[in-house]
Symmetry: C2
Subunit: 341 residues, 2 copies
Amino acid sequence: MDDSTPRAVTMRDVAQAAGVSVSTVSHVVNNKKGARIGKDAWERVQRAIQELGYRPNAMAKDLVKGRSRFIGLVADVIASTPFAGQIIRGAQDEAWRHGYVLLVANTEGNEAAETEAIAMMLEHKVRGVLYSAWYHREVELPAGLSETDCVLVNCFASGSDVPAVVPDEVAGGREATRMLLAAGHRRIGFINTTTPSPAHDGRLEGYRQALADAGVPFDPALVVDARPEQEGGFDAVGPLLAQEVTGVFCHNDRVAMGVYDGVRELGRRVPEDLAVVGFDNQEVIAAHLRPPLSTVALPHYELGQVGVRVLLGLDAAADDGRVVVACPPVHRSSVSITAPA
Amino acid sequence: MDDSTPRAVTMRDVAQAAGVSVSTVSHVVNNKKGARIGKDAWERVQRAIQELGYRPNAMAKDLVKGRSRFIGLVADVIASTPFAGQIIRGAQDEAWRHGYVLLVANTEGNEAAETEAIAMMLEHKVRGVLYSAWYHREVELPAGLSETDCVLVNCFASGSDVPAVVPDEVAGGREATRMLLAAGHRRIGFINTTTPSPAHDGRLEGYRQALADAGVPFDPALVVDARPEQEGGFDAVGPLLAQEVTGVFCHNDRVAMGVYDGVRELGRRVPEDLAVVGFDNQEVIAAHLRPPLSTVALPHYELGQVGVRVLLGLDAAADDGRVVVACPPVHRSSVSITAPA
DNA sequence: TTGAAAGCGCTAACAA
DNA sequence: TTGTTAGCGCTTTCAA
């Protein structure tokens, strides 16, 4: 505010005003238990702090302590979906809980920006950095990160022992398929993504497992790959219905949204003619489709949260460096409760 | 990485290794032009930096310089929509461009968290803080913020002279209405929100202005208030169609999505039977509806960007403290190009 | 119960 | 062209 930049009030100013030494001020500010301060001096210091509006200088403090309270978070894409936001929030909350502050950088996939971001974090002597991706995938670990503690969030680097916190795609696929199975469906389609990824393979594996568990034979004709967007789902409806499918597991909520449109286009209804299960639990979409979409949640908040826990040594990774986070089912109304004919 | 915590390499280590003084190292590290360093010494320093893997300590640097390169960003809600993400990204990019780093905190509307977040930023001697809201609204300025430079983003505090960067709701409402007008529509409905807000008032005002400009009389019967979600839009379709409306301007994209469903439910089509315009340009929805939704973009990225520009004194606020950012129209396919019957 | 002083890693006069 | 030195605001022995 002040244009005059009136030199911030320091501990020395407080000491002077209170008529004590800086070390005394330091002691009361930090509530050091070891050092016993006279009630009188203590009060004078408190008053001076109030009156002068003293704020400790975190940088000076960190400098002398030799470590900072920063945790870096580098994200590849921060804005196109609410996903990165959730990761940031989870990380932020957990970091905060332990007295850390988040230094955020988004790189938009730009390697130069990434290098620069990491350098900046290193120069701020961060406690460590979380390297995150907006969709679960393999990444190459940027060079600079070997200089500090690091954990991968929603991504992994094969051939490296850096801990990676990732969603449990297989279990998620199982959950999704089970929702349909539990409602009595036997001919269950799966609209997978065309993108090769852990999500592609994991969810398919989960789908097969759930089918096997239920004694339903796997029929390759019922799984189709489609662009992971509304359009992909829309186009997949016809072929699937032709296979006499009664329920479909969609690779994500957007695909499910396209399926809704496709079903309507054909004069059919969800869930009566086709039960639909999504993946992601993208609130804005899933909760407000007609009918509201049953889906499986991608645990972005937890990913961020667990990421900092692992970084701080509060949670441990498995031997393979993985920490797998569950994808819980979210029941809404796109799967009828009664079994189909 | 190193569990042994092998004391970071400092400038002194470099100086020693290169056989020069720390000030020489400082000079080459910062590429000081004033000081002329011998080619030989310069090279020895560079080599030492490489070999030791030296990283300057930003905190020490900031400490002596008396100011940090931090800009704080406090957000009320970070994750429920991609909006906050966009603000963060805009702020981040612009801050970065000027050598600043973003310190992010989200408060989830919790006042204690907010106070703490601001204290933390103040203690880090931030250059200033951006206080942002996820939807355009009035806020009460937290006490701590008077201690530093501050700019409000996507919100404002009446009775304060703190600069506020906000979207131009009126012009946005005008743009939306004009899209319909330009396609020949004359009976244009407006599904406004039930929430009292700058968006409510501003967009309505814009709607009226556009109508007036086009010589179309304002008919109160054509504006209805509805919950700003899919459900609100869905329910509004019947009444509007009964008013023989041929085009509708929706308070946001989610409402528009509900309108699509409502129109279909009635066996009608978008845009043939009802042209639809949204607001927000929420990618995940707008770009992938059938047909893709014409809408008006809420400039979150720019809000964040302009926020830091104002903070750094690069852009100036108007006399009333406001900086208004335009909401550009986004043409897609929910408004037919030919005039209705 | 309190204070003096050294030093965290760095910059910026000022000397040499 | 390079080095010496005095801090920046703070914590932390160690003495008093």
